[in-house]
């Protein structure tokens, strides 16, 4: 089981601190599909990097724990982390199609981590690479290819196969399909779901495309200004959003199967995370705001089977 407890992280500059992740806690059960949705700049990528111990300077974690089967990843030494990465937890990054090394063959860059950090012989590593590529539907003859010889969808599949190499229990996915066409995106997402059933891992899926997340995720967290404002079962959050921000997002979303006449955008813009936030961070954009929202910050509370940070409940 994977758990993040009261994580605070951000970016330290000379005279200001951008507090990008504020007191975030969540739990991912085994074989869960956990979605984190939010707009750009809400801190979702920082949350992922911090939970994996990948946040580099000027970024830093101030407090909190990231527990994987009871061990706190944030307190481990780099050498111990190397043993856990890929084996227990792995990552598929944003536009990972471009994160492949253009001058290395697919098989070599996939085998690299196995040989370097996990004591594989080269031949064993290639065997494993072959097996995992088959899993995502790439024929073994493609192992000899360079990234530019593959289409965007295939490169994305290679990166997913790479994340699967050592059958980790948790895979973080940061917008894994945003750079792809809708049809390719759909077939890759389908494959991810099938793999999840077959290989029994859990997914933490981070994206701004909330319509996608509502369709796929079992649990969803809506992130705003560095915090989770609503967390619950995806289906019930979609059918009955509680937080005004979640409501606004759903009303702003042109739907393909509904024939609505008017969609409304949320007025205003997100807060500057370098500033100290008093009261509710969403109050200036919220049509339900009242006096209490100005002065008192709403805490996450358990309401109707889900967590909401709003004074309305």
């Amino acid at each position: 089981m994977f758990e993040v407890v009261k994580l605070n992280a951000g970016y330290q500059f000379r005279n200001r601190f951008v507090h990008a992740v504020r007191n975030v806690s969540f739990k991912v059960e085994d074989e869960d599909f956990f979605g984190v949705a939010g707009e750009s700049g809400c801190g979702k990528t920082t949350l992922m990097l911090a939970s994996l111990g990948l946040l580099k300077r000027p970024g830093k974690v101030i407090s909190g724990q990231v527990l994987l089967d009871g061990t706190d990843l944030l307190s481990l030494k780099v050498s111990d982390l190397k043993q856990i990465r890929w084996k227990k937890i792995s990552l598929v990054t944003q536009s990972s199609m471009n994160s492949l090394n253009p001058v290395m063959k697919i098989k070599d860059q996939m085998a690299d981590v196995l040989v370097k950090n996990h004591g594989f012989s080269k031949n064993d590593a290639y065997e494993l690479v072959k097996e995992k590529l088959k899993l995502v539907g790439i024929t073994p003859d493609r192992m000899e290819s360079y990234p530019h010889q593959l289409s965007g969808g295939m490169r994305q599949r290679v990166v997913i196969a790479m994340a699967l190499l050592l059958s980790p229990k948790v895979i973080f996915m940061d917008e894994p399909t945003t750079a792809l066409d809708v049809v390719v995106q759909r077939s890759i997402l389908q494959q991810i779901e099938e793999l999840k059933k077959k290989e029994h891992f859990s997914i933490v899926f981070i994206t701004h495309d909330i319509s996608l997340l509502f369709e796929l995720a079992t649990k969803i967290a809506i992130m705003y200004a560095g915090e989770f404002v609503e967390l619950g079962e995806a289906k019930s959050v979609y059918s009955q959003p509680l937080h005004p921000y979640t409501k606004g997002l759903i009303e702003a979303l042109p739907s393909i199967s509904k024939d609505l006449d008017k969609y409304k955008s949320i007025p205003g813009r997100p807060l500057d995370l370098a500033l100290k936030i008093e009261g509710c961070p969403f109050r200036d954009r919220c049509s339900y705001a009242f006096e209490r929202c100005e002065v008192e910050k709403p805490e996450l509370r358990f309401v109707d089977g889900r967590w909401v940070a709003c004074h309305l409940y």
Binding site: R186, I256, S265
Partner: protein
């Protein structure tokens, strides 16, 4: 009343060199299209289907290989002199995808909005500038004029791009994925702005997008392109609710939809054909589950139920 913009048999080929050989990429292979007054037409399709090439040919950024472009019923000559060019640019404006790249970061908003007025010698700058910012709902206008692009959010920047496009009172705006870089909470704001500009200023839009849901929301008609050809064209809501061409069905199924009960397994094999040597028959034949022998022969765009479809099934 002739359509504001009409395209007949438009073709565009790009030469590419491969070793010693020169090949041609056939990006547009005979496109017929009409854009009427007060209409939003969305062109949807995957990357590489030719939708952006179409827009760029219409904006005269590329010269067409063959075909005619008619503006208000009059054929546009291949070459325009300076005066005609200016007149064309005044009537036809463009909006690009990335509001972070399409505004000069070193200039103030007022400078960017004044440029088209200076070029087209339009008087009464100050008042026009204010009106146009009010039109795109950036109020109060004074507070925006002296700002630099980096001081604005993505949605505000895209509004400035629209303000710059409508300041010459154009009749047509060619919009290339104007909302794809924007966050969900502001996306519909820009879509509503396009609807408002259509209603209040009588501007027609040719809107290129890959977002079928957005296209359904704002357009009167949707045109589906595949491998340089139009495969289906019809009323926006109708085409999404009841797609007829197998490719449109595939797009519809692939689009994210939280209201979908159970996600049906999408059967998709392969990818679009090469445009260097496109198939003679239906371009979608190789991916199509309904494909039969006659699909190998060229298929024409036919009228079926008030829709145009390029498929042998109908």
């Amino acid at each position: 009343m002739p359509p504001v913009l009409r395209v007949i048999g438009l073709k565009k080929e790009f030469p590419i060199r491969k070793g010693f050989r020169t090949l041609t990429v056939k990006a547009l292979r005979g496109v017929d299209l009409e854009l009427n007054e007060n209409e939003i037409v969305s062109v949807v399709g995957e990357s590489g289907c030719g939708k952006t090439t179409l827009l760029r040919v219409l904006a005269r950024l590329y010269e067409p290989t063959a075909g005619k472009i008619l503006l208000f019923g009059e054929e546009l000559p291949r070459r325009l002199n300076r005066k005609e060019e200016l007149k064309f640019r005044k009537l036809v404006q463009m909006v690009f995808q990335d509001p972070f790249a399409s505004l000069n970061p070193t200039k103030r908003i007022s400078y960017m909005l004044e440029r088209p007025l200076k070029i087209h010698r339009i008087e009464n700058e100050e008042q026009i500038l204010k009106n146009v910012l009010e039109d795109v709902e950036l109020t109060p206008p004074e507070s925006f004029l002296e700002k630099f692009p980096h001081e604005l959010s993505g949605g505000q920047r895209q509004r400035i791009v629209f303000a710059r496009a409508i300041i010459t009172k154009p009749k047509i705006i060619l919009a290339d994925e104007p909302t794809s870089m924007l966050d969900v909470s502001i996306k519909s704001g820009i879509l509503n702005l396009m609807l408002k500009l259509k209603e209040e200023h009588g501007i027609s839009f040719l809107h290129v997008t890959h977002d079928l849901a957005a296209a359904k929301y704002i357009s009167n008609r949707i045109v589906v392109m595949y491998a340089g050809l139009i495969v289906e064209e019809g009323d926006a809501k109708d085409i999404v609710n009841r797609p007829m061409h197998p490719y449109t069905m595939l797009l519809r199924e692939a689009a994210p939809d939280p209201d979908r009960g159970s996600s049906s397994a999408l059967v998709d094999v392969g990818e679009p054909p090469s445009l260097i040597d496109p198939p003679l028959g239906c371009p979608f034949e190789l991916r199509c589950k309904y494909a039969k022998a006659e699909c190998k022969k060229p298929v024409q765009l036919r009228e079926v139920d008030g829709r145009k479809v390029r498929c042998v099934l109908y």
